[in-house]
Amino acid sequence: MLRQIEGSRAVAETVALCRPRVVCAYPISPQTHIIEGVGTLVKSGRLKPCEFINVESEFAAMSVLIGASATGARTYTATSSQGLLYMTEAVFNAAGLGLPIVMTVANRAVGAPVNSWNDHSDAMALRDAGWIQLFAETNQHAVDLHIQAFRLAEELSLPVMVCMDGFTLTHAVERVEIPTQEQVDRFLPPFEPRLILDPADPISIGGVVGPGAYAEARYLAQARHLGALARIPELVDEFGRVVGRQSGGLVSSYRCEDAETIVVALGSIVGTTKDVVDQMREEGTKIGVVHLTTFRPFPEAALAEALEGAHRVVVIEKALAAGSRGILGADVDALVTNRGTRTLTVVAGLGGRAITEGSLRRVFGEAIRGELGAVSFLDLDREAVDRELARMAADASTPPSVARVFGDLRAPTARIV
């Protein structure tokens, strides 16, 4: 049924349709509305049987799910930002144990400076944790990806992270069609664990593995990830047959036929980018955009194909990889560099800074005219930063002061064009 609904609420209702047996979470903005929604569905009896557990930390939340998943329960949690980092050790552990946990990450910046708005710093920090990472472009996409995530996780014995932009998607009210229970049940069979703690057949899970077998265990994780690259497109087709909508997949291209400039991005910024692409296409610019729905495993072949023929690739990077050329940027660059395509990384939208159509048009224009450096920062107040750098250079004993930079900044709203 097509409804006008908040993204978080839509995800909560969708998760309930997936019939998790154990849900466990610790509150952090902007994830809160999701777990509040699931909690209410459990408490009201609409989602049962299900244990909803309020714990003392994100580390505990993931750990509870590790225990529950190993005991045969379908499991779910959601977190953001500091919360994801706080649970890091257990996040790696869940992947290493091959437990099919599904987690929503309502993407948010990581402190310091503390900031509760959206960017992708959190998910990027854990890109090597062994989880499949899917990025939602819209709330409809988020709904569909969650259903597919449970199926994918359980088929491959791998945990899946569904990333959706904090506030931009989680708190946005828009039209979403949530599948029926019957449709979800048809697509998502009951969880049949491969590994289970059972007194009738006692096994040891999580024992010590030394140098003699550790590399092989790690390689198996690699093999399962590569298996996901083959399985994800098949699941999209099957999802389409059951739900009547093509959604998800590895990459999706928009107006990339004959494009000389292709923008690559993750998440909700693709929507704005599509509008800019439409405008520039009308003006005769050969530009398109590729959304990477699956970021881990990295869909090398699919992305290389999508970028075929492009003269330049502009990567919009919603995270700062200090001291490097960017995370998504480096991944894309490795794919296209030896065929002569330039990769231009644009770090944008950090800590919830608005990415406007005007700014995107300007930066795409600069890229096409060859005026854009390999790594650039969208809408950075260059003057304020330069002043502070000069001050630091003049007096080495002065610590860098965020407060002072802020003092120099004009009101951010005045900068939105």
Partner: protein, 337 residues
């Protein structure tokens, strides 16, 4: 998997329950058909108190649950010596995740069982003192506070033995560890630090808290049995001497554990819902020196000249325990002796 039958000497000694006593009074350990949850062939050091404690506790819990039990293990010696791929000494369903999260993993196992409508299978979480007192305390306190249906057992050997004997929050005053060396004016672990996890457990108001040692199997098994009769969060703190870390002879593990109780340094008690119900009286009170002297971790107290000041402070700790828990029992008029 190749299995070894239990040998006669493993069930015949006084320490594990004396097969000559009345059948009803015999321990689970004295039964040749005991579960042997942690079976032989593992890599623990000779005389390891934790290896004994783990088997005593889990066999008793298996007997109480008729084998319907899942074990969660925090990182530590017990994981390292019982599982080396592709081998495992565990004859129970067993999971190890990471160091600090065992109690939360236990919560998850219990939640999954509940959601599946399984009321028979029980959850026992085991950890060393590091995984309980220090890095595992956040998750443990959360599990207590939510009153999740898990028995958490801490095998306390009073330091990080798996990594080479470093100090933990359970290391006693004056003890030498690799991070509290016996050097300087105050050799060993500082006085006035550390915490009593059993009393912190009592403060959570959970249904059952008890302390025990590997020296008294009857007492230990009885406490496990009582814990398994109850639902909700339960805590059992078992003192397990470590020959390697304490510098004691492997054959002295039981004797040292008994001395810890007889000096008053390790009070044996039971508590329920925030109230201490009962402490085991000391039958033969001994001075702390008798406990300290056989342990190399306290050797610096007995040098030339001996640190009589530190020994007296440790005696003071024992005396306070004796007063606080009434460890000398009561006389016929009901007053403390």
């Amino acid at each position: 998997m190749a299995e070894q039958t239990i040998r006669f000497y493993q069930v015949g000694s006084f320490a594990i329950g004396n097969r000559l006593v009345d059948p009803q009074q015999r321990t689970v350990q004295s039964d040749r058909n005991r579960w042997n949850s942690l079976t032989s062939g593992h890599r623990a050091c000779q005389g390891c108190g934790q290896a004994l404690g783990a088997r005593y506790v889990l066999d008793a819990a298996m007997a109480a649950t008729d084998g319907q039990m899942i074990v969660v293990n925090a990182t530590g010696c017990l994981v390292a010596f019982s599982t080396q791929f592709p081998e495992s000494s565990w004859r129970v369903p067993w999971i190890h995740s990471v160091f600090g999260n065992a109690a939360a993993v236990g919560t998850g196992v219990a939640a999954a069982l509940k959601a599946a409508g399984d009321t028979k299978t029980r959850v026992v979480v085991v950890a060393g003192d590091g995984g309980a007192v220090d890095i595992g305390f956040g998750c443990l306190s959360g599990m207590f506070e939510r009153d999740d249906d898990c028995l958490f057992v801490c095998y306390d050997n009073e330091a990080y033995m798996n990594t080479g004997v470093q100090r933990s929050g359970a290391t006693p005053a004056a003890a030498r560890t690799a991070t509290t060396e016996a050097v300087g004016r105050e050799p060993g672990n500082a006085f006035g630090k550390g915490k009593s996890l059993p009393l912190l457990a009592v403060a959570h108001g959970i249904p059952y808290v008890a302390t025990a040692t590997v020296a008294d199997v009857h007492d230990l098994e009885a406490k496990v049995g009582r814990a398994m009769e109850l639902r909700g969060a339960r805590y059992l703190h078992v003192l397990v001497p470590c020959p390697l870390g304490w510098g004691t002879a492997p054959e002295d593990t039981i004797r040292i554990a008994r001395l810890a109780c007889e000096t008053g340094l390790f009070p044996l008690f039971e508590a329920a819902y925030g109230e201490i119900l009962h402490a085991t009286p000391i039958r033969r009170l001994v001075p702390v020196e008798a406990y300290l002297r056989p342990q190399r971790r306290f050797a610096h107290l007995f040098g030339d000249p001996p640190r009589t000041d530190d020994i007296a402070r440790i005696q003071g700790i024992a005396d306070r325990n004796i007063r606080r828990f009434g460890l000398l029992g009561t006389d016929e008029e009901g007053g403390q002796r």
